[in-house]
């Protein structure tokens, strides 16, 4: 580890400590709290576990009990912020794994700082959002895949699916990568070396949790996410339609098939890995795939953005998108999000009737803006044989 690496890690740590400390101050002294509402859900659930009860006694706890177990020290130590510190550690380690994956790239530290020094990322973990735990697992899966350590990669990947379900979408591109990478060298055996541990860890965790918590574990951690139709306002293009349908005796056909566009697009994007089977392409495909998954999802909130942000440094390292287009993409993503947030604010905090056409139009703008960005990302991946950043390195 060079001086620059150490400096980046120390800076990242200090920044996180700063945000973390400010969060405690804001929680104590200001009316609007810094800590994420979900963190209190995890904390309360951990309290039930600490008292030998089920974490599902906490309303809206819809996660694996393992997450609540992680936060039991909150109650053991009598310090509510322990869990946040843990999430910050996961977030930092994720950054270090990203650094390791970028080690051979020029400007590696600059790229890693897209994660490590990103205020959005730091805010999310220091507010107590558990996505950093998942980000760590997904990134570790990629790291071990890169190193050819398929068994540990499979094991951690299985746990990540147990944690949040959605990483299951990575199964197809990862399988395509393994198939292409080991083609002619017992690829099926290699695929099994990844797939079997995935299944073993996923099933072990699930059966273990089912044995302890029974049906309520299945209902809350898994099934709820499959049948949920969130009527409350969120970024998703489906939102207003689902609100209407939730008040009808029978759902519309459109609501019933809401998963199909998401499934089709998400699965189709895997073909980008087929066309370019290098490992370096895999994080880029996962980035685009996650971006599409979130865009087409029935529910979409800001915390979902972190699902694709973890891949961003690795994506940028191979991207050939011209700077002006980058700025345009960022501007569209930010502006349409801002437009939606304005309508959301009018509805939620001013109590104004902003459902139609305001909120729907803003959701549409955000959705279409994201789709256009997806189009640019797909085009970029297809056109990338050699990342521009490596070309600059060669030229240098």
């Amino acid at each position: 580890m060079g001086f620059e690496d150490a400096w980046l890690i120390v800076s990242s740590l200090l920044l996180r400590i700063g945000f973390f400390t400010f969060g405690i101050y804001q929680d104590t002294h200001m009316q609007v709290k810094y800590t994420d509402i979900d963190y209190y859900v995890f904390h309360d659930a951990a309290g039930y576990v600490f008292n030998h009860n089920s974490p599902f006694l906490r309303d809206t706890y819809r996660y694996t009990p393992l997450l609540s177990w992680l936060l039991v020290p909150n109650h053991y130590l009598g310090w509510i912020y322990y869990g946040k510190l843990l999430f910050v550690v996961f977030d930092l380690i994720t950054g270090i794994i990203i650094m390791k994956q970028l080690a051979k790239k020029s400007k590696a530290n600059w790229l890693a700082s897209v994660w490590l020094l990103n205020p959005m990322v730091i805010t999310i973990s220091t507010r107590g959002n558990a996505e950093s735990v998942l980000g760590f697992m997904v990134m570790l899966t990629l790291y071990w895949l890169q190193k050819g350590q398929l068994i540990p990669a499979g094991l951690i990947y299985g746990i990540s699916i147990h944690f949040k379900l959605y990483p299951v979408i990575y199964g197809l591109p990862i399988s395509i990568y393994i198939f292409n990478h080991y083609k002619g060298h017992k690829w099926f055996h290699k695929l099994a070396l990844f797939g079997a541990p995935t299944l073993i860890s996923l099933l072990s965790c699930s059966i273990w949790m089912y044995q302890i918590y029974g049906q309520e574990f299945l209902e809350n951690a898994y099934l709820y996410h499959l049948y949920r139709t969130d009527h409350r306002h969120n970024f998703s293009i489906w939102n207003l339609l689902l609100y209407f349908d939730s008040a009808r005796p029978e759902k519309s056909v459109l609501s019933k098939i809401a998963f199909i566009p998401q499934l089709v697009i998400t699965a189709s994007i895997s073909i980008l890995q087929w066309w370019n089977p290098q490992f370096e392409n895999l994080p880029c495909v996962l980035f685009v795939q996650t971006f599409a998954f979130v865009t087409f999802n029935k529910v979409c909130t800001s915390q979902y953005f972190i699902w694709y942000l973890i891949f961003l440094p690795l994506y940028i390292s191979r991207s050939n998108i011209p700077p002006l287009k980058c700025v345009t993409m960022l501007a569209i993503w930010g502006a349409t999000q801002g437009l939606w947030l304005l309508q959301g604010y009018r509805l939620e905090f001013l109590g104004q009737e902003a459902f139609f056409p305001d909120l729907l139009a803003a959701s549409g703008a955000f959705f279409l803006g994201n789709v256009w960005i997806l189009g640019q990302l797909i085009e970029d991946i297809k056109s990338t044989e050699h990342p521009k950043i490596d070309k600059i390195k060669k030229e240098a």
Partner: protein
């Protein structure tokens, strides 16, 4: 809940606004008393006690508080019952009721009780009502106004009772706890009015009206998370055995996050009963109960905040021309100072007995000093059904066009950058 009865006792009490008006407020013909409505009549109270010849298991109570009768005017002899219709039962099977720590509780803003009980008319349009069904007797109390132009004819036969009593009083004493009514009391024998004589009734009331003004308001802008602000900064406790509480009966459109204590500076509820689901819209809770009951212990000398949350409302059937589709949800917070007194006879007086609703959460010797407060209204925005089809088309168009675009991007020939 009705059961066979063997006899009734009844009493009609009238309070006038001065000793001079005692004589002139009623007249009798030897068998009946007639009370004519006038501006001098402050209030009337009608009590019937229906004695049963059979035991009934369990206790039930019905109360009705009309919004047109200001409790402040009747507070000297009426308890502060919850606005609207309430049914408190020890029976857990009451339809659409919620289960609270003390009783099964059904509540509605409309009167849903019986129109009479064993021939005793329940005049819910003009009176506040408390019907207490006990194991051996049912006590019916009604507190009413008697405006000009209305009259009451009262007699033993009118009441159809074994024992009848009539009193007309002046409110001689009404301090923080003691009430003194002085006037004339008449009793009936078998043939008619037996005798009328001067009488003085002294009793202790359990509910009083506090002279202090407390500002209870919604913080603007209201939004989907209405926050009630209760300013107790200038309020001093009545005694050191007093604490201030707020009791809320919330319709299903509003709810309290019982886990929400960490999130804001809001006061944490002592308990929340009823609909505590944190996610469901109001229209998906049709058969789960009418709402929730919440009790808060407030902090003396501070600005207290209570954060509520609005549930999504069902889209409205309004015409395209109508600009508003908000739903106005109203509730009446009951703000009071509860004080332990050590007085043993607070539980019952000639005009009411305690033990109804929120009183059950306090000891029998508690006196409730009520602060005047007003009805709170929260507007909840809702979508409009006539936008449903447009929403469907818009969603379909967005999805189809984006899928075509992405497939084009995926399967079209790549542009080479180099």
């Amino acid at each position: 809940m009705s059961n066979s009865t063997c006899s009734k006792r009844s009493r009609l009490s009238v309070v006038v606004d001065g000793v001079d008006h005692i004589e002139g407020s009623s007249h009798d013909n030897g068998t009946h008393v007639v009370v004519e409505g006038s501006s001098h009549i402050v209030a009337i109270h009608k009590r019937f006690i229906l004695e049963r010849d059979s035991n009934v298991n369990g206790k039930n109570r019905i109360t009705w508080k009309s919004t047109t009768l200001p409790w402040e005017k009747f507070q000297f002899w009426e308890p502060r019952i919850v606005d609207g219709f309430s049914l408190y039962s020890e029976d857990k099977t009451v339809e659409n009721a919620i289960t609270t720590p003390k009783y099964s509780f059904y509540h509605s803003l409309q009167y849903e009780g019986p129109s009479d009980i064993d021939g005793v008319k329940l005049d819910w349009q003009n009176c506040d009502i408390d019907v207490s069904y006990g194991p051996r007797e049912t006590i019916v109390d009604q507190w009413c106004a008697l405006p000009e132009g209305q009259r009451i004819v009262y007699g033993k036969d009118v009441a159809g009772t074994r024992k009848a009593e009539f009193g007309v009083f002046n409110l001689e004493l009404d301090d923080s706890i003691d009430v003194g009514l002085e006037g004339i009391i008449c009793r009936w024998n078998k043939t008619g009015i037996e005798k009328c004589q001067k009488g003085l009734t002294m009793f202790k009331k359990a509910h009083t009206l506090s002279m202090e003004k407390v500002d209870v308001r919604l913080i603007e802008p209201v939004g989907m998370h209405p926050t009630l602000e209760i300013d107790l900064q200038e309020i001093m406790p009545y005694t050191d055995k007093c604490e201030i509480f707020m009791y809320l009966i919330l319709p299903k459109n509003l709810f309290i996050d019982q886990f929400g204590g960490h999130m804001t500076d809001s006061v944490t509820p002592l308990f929340v009963s009823g609909l505590t689901d944190l996610e469901k819209p109001s229209y998906q809770l049709q058969n789960n109960g009418w709402g929730s009951e919440v009790l808060y212990r407030l902090r003396n000398g501070e600005l207290n905040r209570i954060e509520l949350h609005s549930r999504y409302s069902e889209p409205k059937n309004v015409s395209e021309q109508e600009t508003s589709s908000t739903e106005l949800v109203k509730f009446n917070p009951i703000l009071f100072e509860a004080c332990d007194t050590g007085i043993s006879n607070l539980f019952q007086n000639p005009f009411y007995s305690k033990g109804v609703g929120y009183e059950r959460y306090f000891t029998n010797d508690t006196i409730f000093h009520h602060f005047q407060n007003r009805q709170i209204g929260v507007k909840i925005p809702a979508a409009r059904w006539h936008d449903y089809e447009k929403t469907q088309w818009f969603t379909v168009l967005c999805l189809l066009s984006s899928m075509f675009y992405l497939f084009y991007k995926l399967f079209s020939k790549p542009k080479r950058n180099r």
